[in-house]
């Protein structure tokens, strides 16, 4: 038996061959530092997005129109908390603790999805987040479910299943508004106008501005490029919206018979960079709300952190 230490070249050849065969990488496997680093970054940002993503919709729980809509929204926000926890755990298998990640978020050092830094002034925004934002998230997450890191791919399967309920409740809510009064229909169209560009940005920088793309694809971290995901989302969602008379705010949106795809105007990626770096309409508000929730929940966490055997008086 050959017990000599393998060289870096041998390890990376074996690692890349495993991925090329379509096998998953599991915790404990050797992996290049850059693979580990990129995955911790991606999974961490994904987890933070779920946690911050509870805020724009959570605000509508007390104002939901009717008891069923209120229960639905509570269930959806609980799902997002659950997704955040699944993702923090997936990142932990790569060697970064949940505590560290939560601290980075509270200290404002962590990045999260641009979309949650936009306001939700009307009830139609709740529906638009489900239809567009969760719709785009599922396109991205279905891809991740096929990516090379086992724990991340496994978490995605569970998450995608729950996101389909999120999309349906958003569509249902908006379709009822579209077939309601003229004012309700206008409210739905206004929400689409506001969420369209931020949602397209959510799928990331264009391929021409993604320096690590080649490596991330070779390592199976990304199975599709950002531009491919964006086109897939557009092709999926445009016919859905048009079927109920909602029109995306893009004068150059048309179906191209030759390519079989919808042609669309690219969003302003400089705005995406600004919002990710902290300068969006609601970044400050979101971080303040997150810190407040963290402080107000401290007594609950401290009570829960005391294990049962320490809570109960010992039997005499």
């Amino acid at each position: 038996m050959d017990v000599r230490e393998r060289t870096y070249e041998e390890k990376i050849t074996e690692f890349e061959a495993r991925i090329a065969r379509g096998e998953k990488i599991e915790p404990g496997d050797w992996m290049p530092d850059e693979y580990r680093k990129q995955l911790i970054r991606m999974i961490g940002q994904h987890a933070h997005s779920e946690i911050v993503g509870m805020l724009p919709e959570g605000k509508w729980i007390p104002h939901a129109p009717g008891f069923r809509r209120k229960l639905t929204l509570i269930a959806k926000v609980q799902d997002e908390a659950g997704h955040g926890q699944l993702l923090y755990r997936a990142a932990e298998t790569l060697g970064k603790s949940r505590e560290e990640m939560l601290e980075e978020l509270l200290e404002g050092k962590a990045k999260y999805s641009n979309v949650f830094n936009y306001p939700t002034p009307t009830w139609a925004d709740v529906g638009m987040i489900g239809w567009l934002v969760d719709g785009a998230a599922v396109v991205n997450q279905r891809m991740i479910a096929k990516s090379s890191y086992g724990p991340y791919a496994r978490a995605m399967k569970r998450i995608c299943f729950e996101e389909s309920f999120h999309i349906k409740q958003g569509q249902d809510l908006l379709i009822k508004m579209v077939y309601g009064t003229e004012e309700q229909k206008q409210m739905a169209q206004d929400a689409l106008n506001r969420w369209w560009h931020p949602t397209l940005m959510m799928l990331g920088m264009p391929d021409s501005d993604s320096p690590h793309l080649e490596k991330l694809k070779r390592w199976g971290v990304k199975v599709k490029t950002n531009d491919e995901l964006r086109q897939e989302f557009i092709d999926l969602v445009v016919p859905q919206l048009k079927s109920v008379g909602l029109n995306p705010p893009d004068d150059n949106l048309y179906y191209d018979e030759k390519t079989g795809h919808w042609h669309f105007t690219e969003p302003d990626y400089n705005e995406l960079k600004r919002v990710i770096k902290g300068d969006g309409p609601c970044n400050k508000e979101r971080m303040e709300a997150r810190r407040k929730a963290h402080e107000e929940g401290r007594w609950v966490r401290q009570a829960l952190a005391v294990a049962k055997h320490k809570r109960e008086a010992p039997a005499v």
Binding site: R298, A305, A307
Partner: protein
């Protein structure tokens, strides 16, 4: 006080009586009671479930992916397989 980490518990989920318990993920919790509660919230919120097991992550003994020869079948073990016994039945079903 560390109140955002907590110990890790692996969760095993049984969908119905007669099925195997299947590993579905993990939760963070300070004790067994909280671990079961968190596991129920996280993994049995929609999916059918009749039983959950939680096990402290460090109590799970694992093989190492780096030692493939542990599972290697170095010698011919066809005598463990159905295909190792090819003698056909003389069929009255043909008549």
């Amino acid at each position: 006080m560390n109140d955002t980490q907590l110990p890790i518990w692996e969760v095993f989920h049984q969908e119905k009586r007669g099925a195997s318990h299947v590993h579905v993920g993990a939760v963070h919790a300070s004790d067994e009671e909280m671990a079961l509660q968190m596991a129920k919230e996280q993994f049995a919120r929609r999916q059918e479930c009749v039983s959950l097991w939680v096990v402290r992550e460090e109590h799970v003994v694992k093989t190492n992916y780096d030692v493939p020869f542990f599972f290697a079948r170095n010698t011919d073990k066809e005598y463990r397989e159905v295909y190792g016994f090819p003698a056909p039945l003389k069929g009255k079903h043909r008549e």
